[in-house]
């Protein structure tokens, strides 16, 4: 049985009270019993003295009837069991026996009532009998003795009666005091505690109820302390709630709050048969801002974007920051897609307006994916996923666009995911293969090496374009493993050819931006060591996007590669930033002119001017240039005349698989068109 505090306290008080009162009662009763016993003894002595005083004349005068009268008169009092006058020889000469006394009644069952000596003998050892004896003398002569027996039974009866009364009084007092103490305890302690308990439960439920302070005692202090604690908890809870539901940087609702709001909106829209829109906003190239202008500016941009988004919306709309450079807008109660488009356009415009951050002028763009309830999903997960999907589609289509989610997107997404899974197995299943496209010098059209190309032969899809699966591999990070596989395969092939007595020239291998971040130079050194590849046998082709990453890290990695002795080639020059500062900051050996510029030669004046400018710049920087995608003689002639040293393209040779390329090399070797093994590259 579980006792509450009030019951425990009251029980303890009652036990102490009962114990104290019981001890007091027992003491009182014991004292009372002693007093009454003393009174009985005194009564007996008084009787004895009286008999001693009046009896001598009667004894001497043989007035036994008078003596009997004396004895009866004196003895026939309450509690006196017997009064007997005996002669000096012990013979009874007068007696009074209270035959109604229980002690006598009991003895008379076995003793003749006239046999006084025997009766007295039987009574001699009775604990509940006070037996007194008084001499009766006359002039110092012993005339007899007065024996008196006084029963303690009435005393004991009185003791029991008193005990019963005392117990009843004690019970009454204990009950009264117990009730009073319990009531006082309940009013002064339990009620306040119960209020505190109720308030504590309220706090547990998130309701911060303050308890009224009614006294200045310890309970009042406790209540004050509790209220202070409640206030602290409330503030802390509010802080936690803010931290849990709001973005600390922008002050906007965070993902959790956004999900709550969407859920609420779903309930509301379902009840009122309404539609609403979820807009996923992702800043384009935000990383570039962070990297180039620093994180502080990046944060400023996020705050500013949040403010602009908020300023562009209705009061009923909700904007949240999901994390990173992702924002979400919840636009409730939309009637048609046009209305949402207007919102999206307002957002695109607002975000793309130039702004000055840390004294720098910045123009940001964003991509927006839109999902509608209930058209594109009836729960928060589906709506979020579809808006996200649409946002990626928007990002894929170019900067600054907003796209509504379509089922086709999901199809593409599923395909992409399937391809991602297939790509995971491609290496293991031997579906990937290296192809080699020879590179020639333009002057003598002699073979100098080859660019390593990666091909994926999907068992169902057939040949999958690198333009499809390489971006996927980069997006998923699979490119790291694939890139290492390419490196090792290229090294193994080169080594095999070389060991076969063939001089394959150099192999130009494309290195992904993702690979570059992983500091692949160490692994490349190991592979070169394993396969005995000389540094001049490898040329690493990187795109300008690599250079957009952390300058310091890129510079370190490039230096490491250069220290190995590798040739560094800047691929697809002219299609990206084509920043001259990069060429100045990072030293390259080779520039590769993108095939899009070669395609317009020699008739397209823009391409002609551009190619001439690139070649002039390369000559100035002492860089060798490779013209990619040379497919006609005119193109070859043009670049040759303009001083381009190297060229590759269908005009010269198509990409070949390893076996074909080996045969190709063997043929060249047999024709004496390959340099000797000791000189791979000149």
């Amino acid at each position: 049985m579980r006792l509450n505090l009030g019951a425990k306290f009251t029980l303890t008080v009652l036990i102490i009270l009962a114990g104290t009162m019981a001890a007091n009662t027992l003491y009182f009763l014991d004292t009372s019993a002693r007093f009454h016993e003393q009174q009985l003894v005194e009564r007996g002595r008084a009787l004895g003295r009286l008999i001693s005083l009046v009896s001598p004349d009667a004894i001497l005068g043989f007035d036994f009837l008078l003596l009997n009268d004396y004895t009866r008169e004196v003895s026939s009092q309450q509690d006196v069991v017997y009064g007997v006058i005996v002669s000096p020889q012990g013979v009874p000469i007068s007696s009074y026996i209270n035959h109604s006394d229980p002690l006598i009644k009991k003895r008379l069952e076995s003793v003749n009532s006239n046999d006084i000596p025997k009766l007295l003998l039987r009574l001699d050892s009775q604990d509940d009998l006070i037996q007194l004896e008084f001499p009766i003398t006359q002039n110092d002569a012993l005339l007899g003795r007065f024996l008196v027996g006084i029963s303690r039974q009435s005393l004991q009866s009185e003791f029991r009666r008193q005990l019963m009364i005392q117990i009843l009084v004690m019970i009454a007092i204990v009950l009264f005091l117990g009730t009073a103490i319990h009531a006082a305890f309940r009013f002064n302690v339990l009620f306040p505690i119960q209020k505190l308990i109720a308030a504590s439960r309220d706090v547990g439920r998130g309701q911060y109820t303050l308890v009224e302070v009614k006294s200045a005692d310890e309970m009042g202090l406790l209540t004050r302390a509790f209220n202070a604690m409640t206030e602290e908890v409330r503030q802390e809870q509010a802080k936690l709630h803010r931290q849990a539901n709001f973005d600390t940087l922008t002050g906007l609702p965070n993902r959790m709050m956004a999900l709550d709001r969407i859920n609420l909106e779903i309930s509301r829209a379902r009840r009122f048969d309404q539609r609403f829109a979820v807009l996923f906003i992702d800043l384009d190239n935000f990383k570039n801002v962070n990297d180039s202008l620093g994180h502080a500016v990046g944060d400023e941009l996020l705050v500013a974007t949040g403010n602009r988004v908020q300023a562009s919306l209705r009061d009923t709309d909700t904007v949240a920051r999901l994390g990173g450079d992702e924002f979400l807008v919840l636009a409730p109660d939309v009637t048609n897609e046009m209305q949402v488009e207007e919102i999206a356009e307002r957002l695109l415009r607002a975000i793309s307006e130039p702004q000055e951050l840390s004294e720098r002028k910045v123009v940001a763009h964003c991509s927006i994916g839109i999902a509608l309830y209930p058209d594109n999903g009836e729960n928060v997960e589906t709506l979020m996923a579809n808006a996200d999907n649409a946002m990626y589609q928007a990002k894929a289509t170019g900067h600054g666009s907003a796209i509504f989610f379509t089922e086709e997107m999901n199809t593409r997404l599923r395909e992409r995911m399937q391809m991602e899974q297939d790509l995971n197995l491609a290496v293991e299943l031997g579906q990937l293969a290296l192809h080699f496209q020879p590179i020639f010098d333009t002057a003598g059209q002699r073979h100098r090496g080859a660019e390593v190309l990666l091909r994926w032969h999907h068992p169902e899809r057939g040949a999958v374009s690198p333009a499809v699966f390489i971006p996927l591999a980069e997006a998923t990070g699979q490119i790291v493993g694939i890139g290492e596989w390419v490196l090792e395969q290229a090294c193994r092939s080169w080594s095999a050819w070389h060991n076969g007595g063939i001089n394959p020239g150099f192999l130009a291998i494309n290195i992904s931006r993702i690979q570059f971040r992983k500091r692949f130079s160490k692994r490349l050194s190991e592979l070169m060591s394993i396969y005995g590849i000389p540094p001049q046998a490898l040329e690493l082709e990187i795109t300008e996007s690599v250079l957009l990453d952390d300058h310091h890290q890129v510079a370190e990695e490039l230096n490491s590669l250069r220290a190995i002795g590798l040739t560094l080639s800047l691929d697809d020059f002219g299609t990206g930033y084509s920043s001259l500062s990069y060429l100045k900051r990072f030293r390259f050996d080779v520039l590769k002119i993108d095939r899009s510029f070669i395609a317009g030669l020699p008739d397209n004046p823009d391409d002609v001017s551009l190619v001439k400018a690139i070649l002039a710049m390369a000559k100035g920087l002492d860089l060798r240039v490779v013209a990619e995608g040379v497919e006609t003689q005119d193109q070859l002639n043009f670049v040759t005349i303009q001083g381009c040293e190297l060229a590759q393209g269908y005009l010269l040779a198509r990409p070949m698989n390893e076996e074909a390329y080996r045969s190709y090399l063997q043929d060249l070797q047999a024709a004496g068109e390959l340099p000797r093994l000791s000189a791979v590259r000149t």
Binding site: F62, D63, F64, N68, V91
Partner: protein, 282 residues
């Protein structure tokens, strides 16, 4: 005004009161204490006074000596005493009636012993203690038992004599083994006071005299004969009416019988045997 009326009334009746006769004095011997005696015999005194048309005043005595002194001085007109008192005062008082107790006119003097004493003959009392009640004037409690002792050959000195205040106490003393024998009238054993005090079954009668007439009622021989006869008649007539029987019951008597002087000759014989010829002439 009221006081004046009282004075006139007192002056008118004073000669009448002075002319009334003196009250008759009725003495009763101190067989019991004075208060008890007054309680028992006052109804009879009132009865006699009303019937004879003359106040009868009951006088009690605190002890036998003062009572006997009043007898010898003839202070009593009517007297009730024991048989020995009468035979000693017969010259000045004339017996007119005797009491009847327990429906008897006479009672024997006896010696009692305890049943467990082993005493079956009076002669066994030699050297033992005999207790008598009421003093040596007591006819039934002393003189008669002494006579029995003498008949058994035991003279005074052959046994130890103890005197209890009355016959009842002598019997109680015997019961409580304060004596080996007790003298008294045979009716003592039947008295309620004894039955209440002791277990009479433990006592038995050892020897008895011939029945002796009960206590006498006497008047002064100098009393007019007509008055004496009137008083005798009234006393003897008591048992014939409810009121009279109530008076007798009050005095612990069952009746009053006629008595003449010669009825007490047996008593004179016993007293003479015990005390000698002087004993009766005192």
């Amino acid at each position: 005004m009221v006081s004046l009326l009282w004075l006139i009334a007192a002056a008118t009746w004073a000669p009448v009161i002075q002319a009334a006769e003196d009250p008759l004095i009725m003495g009763v011997f101190p067989r019991r204490n004075a208060a008890e005696t007054a309680r028992l015999f006052t109804p009879m005194a009132v009865y006699l006074g009303e019937r004879i048309g003359r106040e009868v005043k009951l006088v009690t005595s605190k002890n036998f000596d003062s009572f006997w002194k009043a007898v010898t001085e003839q202070q009593f007109d009517i007297v009730h005493y024991n048989q020995y008192h009468y035979i000693r005062s017969a010259k000045t008082y004339k017996v007119i009636a005797h009491t009847q107790e327990f429906g008897k006119n006479a009672v024997a003097g006896v010696l009692f012993v305890r049943k467990d004493s082993g005493i079956t003959e009076v002669s066994q009392l030699r050297g033992r203690t005999v207790i008598f009640g009421g003093g040596k004037d007591a006819m039934l409690s002393y003189i008669a038992p002494r006579f029995l002792l003498m008949q058994a050959g035991l003279k005074e000195g052959d046994f130890k004599t103890e005197i209890a205040v009355n016959p009842q106490n002598a019997l109680v003393a015997l019961y409580y083994r304060q004596a080996d024998a007790a003298g008294g009238g045979e009716v003592v054993l039947d008295q309620p006071v004894i039955k209440n005090a002791v277990n009479v079954q433990e006592l038995r009668l050892l020897a008895a005299t011939e029945p002796l007439l009960f206590l006498p009622w006497a008047v002064k021989r100098s009393m007019p004969a007509k008055l004496a006869e009137s008083i005798q008649s009234l006393l003897l007539d008591l048992k014939n009416s409810d009121a009279g029987r109530q008076i007798l019951k009050s005095a612990i008597m069952t009746g009053l019988g006629n008595a003449v002087d010669r009825d007490y000759d047996p008593h004179r014989k016993l007293a003479t045997a015990v005390f000698g010829p002087e004993g009766t002439a005192r």
